[in-house]
């Protein structure tokens, strides 16, 4: 039963035309090259037509020519804000297919880095969302100040600030430096103090409340029907997180809560992501305390990895939702079919239903709250 009413108020005596406004590929607010054709009646949006594909790069076809280590770089560039999570998904898929078991130390390193990357992704979201809502770049600067600190930490471990190419099937590429624990603790302290700034700017702000509370409410039933996942689904009240529902890697050893919202509106989605950052910090602290010493790559790995015949679908909880990799192997060292199930693509398909009947300004805010990454949507 749809909860959206598409009728337009009143019977006008004047004959009026609806304007088509093209929120085009180049626009400061669309988070990438994404195009929406809005049909507006005054300020009300009566129809929305999303157009994607401006960033299609062949991320599913090109890996069919690459061996299993070369594909990891493609996953960095799919969801380019949460690279460790995507690499984690792909590497776990290969491990499932081949039966390799990664070492304990590398599992802990993977979890710590993936959760820190979730924090950087959510910081970027808060910065971009507050620019959409109208703050003139202050929350953006605060978010990026802390994000730089985490990226410097990543640079000390892997060498790169964004496209890491660090996880490998069987473990990680090389060991972390000796001051890993102290630096990680510094990073966590910095994130905790930075979150206070962001909370002060957004959480109780009356204007943010007036613009976001009650906007685009989504019920749990609608969310499941539309295929939403991640923070969008949890904001409607359903406690569903792949790290607890189908635990992968070593997530079943850690204690953390799953924040949920009540109404599924924009405000809940924002507050939830702030809370998720705090839960990620909890996981990192627990993992740091338990991390063992040992090898970081499984024993007896061959130089070229040949994957036996079979298929696997592996999914992880990315910061945007469920990120999945479907691999078909045929005994050679190159995958036969490599498909990526991107969270932003499925979340974006619900944009039309969520935004009809709202104002033009609201559509921008709703698009910001879905938190899309065009690399994932178009691949």
């Amino acid at each position: 039963m749809a909860t959206i009413d598409y009728t337009i108020p009143g019977e006008p005596d004047l004959e009026t035309l609806d304007i088509h406004v093209n929120v085009g590929p180049q626009h400061p607010a669309t988070h990438g090259v994404f195009r929406m054709v809005l049909t507006i009646d005054g300020e009300l949006v009566t129809d929305l037509d999303p157009v994607i594909g401006y960033m299609h790069r062949g991320n599913e076809k090109l890996p069919e020519n690459c061996d299993y280590r070369q594909v990891i770089g493609y996953h960095d560039r799919t969801d380019y804000l949460a690279q460790f999570n995507t690499e984690h998904c792909y590497v776990e898929a290969v491990e499932k297919l081949t039966g390799i078991k990664p070492t304990e130390r590398s599992e802990y390193i993977r979890v710590i880095l993936a959760e820190l990357n979730r924090i950087t992704s959510h910081l970027m979201f808060i910065g971009a969302f507050s620019s959409d809502v109208g703050i003139f770049g202050t929350a953006f600067m605060y978010a990026f100040r802390d994000r730089e600190f985490v990226q410097d930490f990543f640079e000390e471990i892997t060498g790169e600030r964004m496209m890491f190419n660090y996880f490998r099937p069987g473990g990680v590429a090389w060991d972390v430096p000796d001051d890993f624990r102290e630096r990680c603790t510094q990073v966590i302290d910095r994130i905790n103090s930075g979150l206070k700034d962001l909370e002060g700017m957004i959480v109780d702000n009356e204007i943010v409340l007036a613009r976001c509370r009650g906007l685009s409410r989504v019920s749990t039933e609608d969310a499941i029907n539309w295929g939403l996942s991640g923070p969008l689904l949890r904001a409607t009240g359903l406690e569903y997180d792949l790290r607890k529902a189908e635990p992968y890697s070593i997530y079943d050893r850690f204690e953390f809560d799953i924040p949920t919202g009540k109404d599924g509106d924009v405000y809940d989605r924002v507050i939830m992501r702030l809370e998720e950052m705090k839960q990620s910090v909890r996981i990192v602290e627990q993992a740091l305390a338990d991390m063992p010493d040992g090898p970081i790559m499984a024993e007896g790995m061959k130089r070229t990895l040949r994957v036996p015949e079979g298929e696997v679908y592996m999914r992880v909880e990315g910061p945007r939702g469920e990120y999945g990799v479907y691999l078909v192997g045929t005994g050679t060292d190159k995958p036969y079919r490599h498909k990526v199930r991107a969270a932003s693509f499925c979340n974006l398909s619900a944009l039309r239903a969520m935004s009809i009947g709202n104002y033009v300004s609201d559509v921008i805010v709703i698009l910001g709250s879905i938190d899309i990454v065009l690399g994932e949507v178009d691949r």
Partner: protein, 372 residues
Amino acid sequence: MFLLADNVWLDALLRMAIVAVLVPVGVILLTWVERKVIGRLQQRLGPMHVGPYGLLQGIADTIKLITKEDVRPDSADRPTFELAVFVIVVPVFMAAVAVPFTSDIFVRNMALGLFYFLAVSSLGIVGFVMAGWGSDNKYALLGGVRAGAQLISYEIPLILSAVAVAMLGQSLSLYTLVQLQDDTPFIAYQPLAFVIFIIAGLAELYRQPFDIPVAESEVVGGPTVEYSGIRWSMFQMSEFVSLVLISALASLLFLGGWTWPFGADNATWLQVCLMVAKTSAFILFFMWMRVTVPRLRIDQLMALCWQILLPFAFLQIIINGLVLVYDWPSWTLTILSGAAAIAMGTVLHQVARRSGVLYQTTGASQRVGSVL
């Protein structure tokens, strides 16, 4: 009032020339100040590269804008498009004529100074609508229509709060109003009018939280989107000159201008210092608000004006009227006005907390835009 030259006409011409030269130079300096202040509030340095501490950044920007190619869309309505800029810039400079900066430094000391200022600064609104229509661009049209609606609506609380002060001072001349404030500024008697003036002034300047006509993340630039080069710099200049003028007006009307706290007969240099300090305080406050507060949506903005600011502005005038007619002592004015100001703050607080639930719906058939 001293004459710069013997002939009255020559004197007027010289004064206007001084204003026409000093004001753009002041604007160039003010762009540097704004970028530095915003940078510090965001925990970063501002411009540092051009000149020592980036002081020449305003000049570099001006040179860049002047030498840019003047691009005009082919289907733009040429007279409307090109005249819109002048219709915005000229009234702002005309309004600068009526504002006295100290007891000796002004262009004209008019008996109807306040009335002239408010009347002339309303003319610029037509320019925005002309820019929005003449650009032949849907974003410009949206921005221009929003700008027209917002600026016209917020004129009324601005004028009513200025009228309340004029009722207290029993005169429309800015000079007289300042001379009357030598022992207590009017803010002590009229806190409600002060708050309404600041909010309506922010809206007239289309700054955060009221900058929806030129919102960068939605209608990219609004009515100014198709202008480039020197025409666009005219828009910016008019915004900054209005900023200075509204801040100057606020310090003249409410904080006592050049007289408080040192009395009416002080040296010129002290008067200049006081005026500069008070105007700068308001300018810095407006910049601080710009960096911190998100923007309101257009219907929330209009609801704020017509359903909250306007009744409270009328309330302030009624309070003033009662106190003047029944000849009550001045402190009753402070108490009544202060109580009304606190009441307005409470109403705003409650409305903001409840507003999302009250009128945001997912169906288009419900009436939107009301806060009460």
